[in-house]
Symmetry: C2
Subunit: 212 residues, 2 copies
């Protein structure tokens, strides 16, 4: 079996999620950088679009197929590598809570403040940082309430899950746009603790080969 | 076991997804309408926020718990009702393709053009319909490419899946915002065929008790 190839950009929070999961599951992979800003974006070039028609990172080539969309990749890893450390609990309702948190981040928050949306906000006369801050803050309020109900040492209880894998990169985005995390004590506490774990350090944007 | 309760708004495409899945799986439920526009929105009232801190529909009360986020609900139904008709294929790579399509819709498209984002676009001086049309068109281009590769009678092969459950309501949004679907022949063909199925008819906004 050939080694998986991750198409990633160091700063992309969606790529960052997959890097955490791969590190935690101890899946070796080749890192292939896709520069989202150089020359209008390598993700918009034909070679990459053939792999991922969305023109977004990440994409993972694994087991002979290429998968786009971070959540599709994360769920695939969970199903295709059942002997690796789990990122979904066994209890069905706990799994639903994990996926609820995941979707608040990957659907309600990140796509509304990603690079292409922010560029379009600017195009129609809006302020990119204000926009990003507004949506992250609004969604972090809901997230804080949910996490206060369900968190232990991790987002849902004491075991690492896909919720943690998605939370830390989104907190990275929040910091980048100057969101005051003191409003969200549970999020702040969880992110601070999670960032100390080796798989989160390995996956951090600063530790990627394409970091500039 | 008490009957599940679906908190829904007839026009909400995220609620619509769950209605299709419930109908297809023949799960009886009580419909509880949450009016997203009346008096500033019932979804922002304390009683509803206690159920779903995101202040979004849908939420499903089932098996003693309330779950928010349509995808978390859909995955829960798949896992908790294994004897009902499947909406995820057995093959792991096919499952990944389904989830890739699902996420293009539920993450890249719908949250960027939902009610609260459109209201904010207007607030910063943008045009709501132009904005919605822009993002739906952009994402439908990627979706069309993927579907041309994988579709049979349904989005992925000939069996109904979560991809179909998400596609039809998003096509509903596209029609609402005047997106020309002739650009997307595979999407158009699939949506036309799917809409004839009884579970899609039952779930359609026009057939909900809160339709105005």
């Amino acid at each position: 079996m050939s080694v998986p190839v991750l198409y990633s950009y160091f700063r992309s929070s969606a790529s960052w999620r997959v890097r955490i999961a791969l590190a935690y599951k101890q899946i070796e992979y080749e890192y292939r950088a896709v520069n989202l800003v150089k020359d209008g974006g390598e993700q918009k070039q034909a070679a990459y679009l053939a792999l991922n028609p969305s023109g977004l990172v990440p994409a993972l080539h694994i087991d002979g197929h290429t998968i786009g969309q971070s959540v599709a990749i994360l769920e695939y890893l969970e199903e295709a590598r059942p002997d690796s450390p789990r990122l979904l609990p066994r209890d069905l309702f706990q799994r639903a809570v994990v996926r609820q948190i995941v979707n608040i981040i990957v659907a309600d928050t990140q796509p509304v403040q990603n690079l292409r949306v922010l560029n379009h906000v600017e195009l129609i006369g809006g302020n990119k940082a204000d926009w990003a801050k507004h949506w992250i803050t609004l969604n972090f309020r809901s997230l804080e309430t949910l996490l206060a109900r369900h968190a232990g040492q991790c987002c849902v209880g004491d075991d690492l899950s896909l919720a943690d894998v998605c939370l830390v990169p989104q907190v990275g985005n929040a910091n980048r746009f100057g969101v005051d995390l003191a409003q969200f004590p549970t999020i702040q506490r969880l992110a601070a603790a999670l960032q100390l774990r080796p798989e989160f350090k390995a996956a951090h944007p600063d530790n990627q080969p394409d970091k500039v």
